[in-house]
């Protein structure tokens, strides 16, 4: 592969963006072809969604994966997976069960070349607080994470904001344990002025991100609506991309930002192609690469 990733914030894509079409028959190669068009070299896949044969990792898939990454100059940026605490209707997943499933995903992610994992925890209320024993689960899974050289990243996503106690709890856990197996994924929805489900408008200011940057290993570049813009070609209707990206860039943050499109028209192939490209044009013009 000729591609060498630059230092700094890097442009990527989450295959999640293609979900509606992927279910109907769009392939990984179709997604990678789209990414190649846009010079978006980092990919996020979701284990439960995009690996044929999951939860097994077949040789056939592994070979196809490596061939496609090579052909389209794609770097594994983030692997999305879940702790499905409510897998059963009548009881919660135990810590041992959670670790068993986590380790299975660690191995798959490692074999596919991923280091960062977007680890979705089980939440217990409407502001998305995690289960009370989340520390026990993460601590118990840490030896396996170290064995497979992966880092678990809870995703900070609206309606959670950066000033919520949960984020402080995660950071304190990292500081106290000194762990390299746990960090943060910031979803840009936290900066969005788009109304929440309940009609309220609440968002974090981009500068609030600075204090957390040492803990942030990957970002979800969320977008839902792209509009024309005189300076950068396009802008996101509710998320101040230039401010957010400049904070990442000016503070020396190094990592992947994987695009997550959530526009209502994402089941329309032409609309999806256009939205993805407009979003990458915005990020390319702000970053300068």
């Amino acid at each position: 592969m000729n591609y060498v990733p630059p230092k700094g914030p890097k442009r990527g894509v989450s295959v999640y963006s293609y979900s509606n079409l992927f279910i109907l028959g769009m392939t990984l190669e179709d997604c990678f072809r789209d990414m190649y068009d846009m010079d978006a070299h980092g990919v996020e896949i979701l284990g439960n969604s995009h690996i044929k044969g999951y939860p097994e990792l077949t040789d056939e898939f592994l070979n196809e994966w490596h061939d496609l990454c090579e052909k389209y100059e794609i770097i594994p940026a983030e692997y999305g997976h879940w702790i499905d605490g409510r897998m059963w209707e009548d009881r919660m997943l135990t810590v041992d069960e959670a670790v068993k499933y986590l380790e299975r995903d660690f191995k798959i992610a490692h074999d596919l070349g991923f280091h960062c994992l977007r680890t979705k925890q089980t939440v217990i209320n409407d502001i998305l607080d995690p289960v009370e024993n989340w520390r026990d689960i993460i601590t118990a899974a840490t030896p396996a994470a170290e064995k497979y050289d992966v880092v678990m990243l809870p995703e900070i996503h609206s309606p959670t904001l950066l000033d919520q106690p949960m984020v402080q709890d995660f950071v304190e856990y990292i500081d106290k344990t000194g762990t390299k197996a746990f960090g943060l994924n910031i979803d840009f929805s936290v900066f969005s002025k788009r109304p929440n489900f309940d009609g309220t408008v609440r968002f974090s200011k981009p500068e609030e991100l600075i204090q957390y940057l040492p803990y942030v290993k990957c970002c979800h570049a969320k977008f839902t609506s792209m509009l024309p813009d005189e300076t950068y070609g396009f802008r996101e209707e509710n998320i101040p991309y230039p401010e957010v990206l400049k904070i990442l860039q000016d503070n020396g943050w190094d990592g992947w930002m994987v695009a997550e499109y959530e526009g209502r028209d994402r089941g329309d192939d032409n609309a999806l192609c256009e939205a993805m490209r407009k979003h990458q044009i915005l990020m390319k013009n702000v970053l300068g690469y």
Partner: protein, 148 residues
């Protein structure tokens, strides 16, 4: 190729027992959720055809996923088998004589848990439709289809 509606037209037909007698009908169902689910995550409700109800645990309803047939009770217990989002499930219903030639309103109520979402969004009640959000709540899919 999957069809856009969740209930698939292709795959809707009467079924025969080993002696060739019509013993029920089946149809295919796809997900629009962006990830595959463990079978135990599924919340399986009733099938309703032209107002006739076939309750999940009546012994009349099975789901076939990746070629393996499950009762709703077996799916609830299972913790390793998986329903990929790219494959339709076959819903098989026992009904001696099957469905008559003509149009039928086929409906199925179902949901699934999404542990990363608030618990308030995923309460499932088979006795009533609560279509607040697909997956969360008690979604009912409908499709009117012609049987030969």
């Amino acid at each position: 190729m999957l069809e856009l509606p969740r209930i698939q037209y292709r795959g809707f037909h009467n079924t025969k027992d080993k002696d060739g007698n019509i013993d029920g009908f089946e149809f295919r169902l796809r997900t629009t959720y962006y990830r595959g689910v463990w079978l135990s995550q599924l919340r399986v409700g009733r099938v309703i055809v032209d107002g006739e109800e076939f309750l999940a645990n009546s012994g009349k309803v099975t789901w076939i996923i990746q070629g393996k047939e499950y009762t709703p009770a077996q799916m609830k217990e299972d913790n390793e088998d998986f329903w990929p989002m790219t494959e339709a499930a076959v819903i098989r219903v026992k009904k001696p004589g099957g469905l008559a030639q003509g149009y039928h309103d086929v409906a199925i109520r179902w949901g699934f848990s999404s542990s990363y979402m608030p618990p308030s969004m995923e309460s499932f009640d088979d006795s009533k439709e609560a279509p607040r959000a697909f997956g969360g709540g008690s979604n009912t899919d409908h499709r009117t289809m012609l049987i030969v």
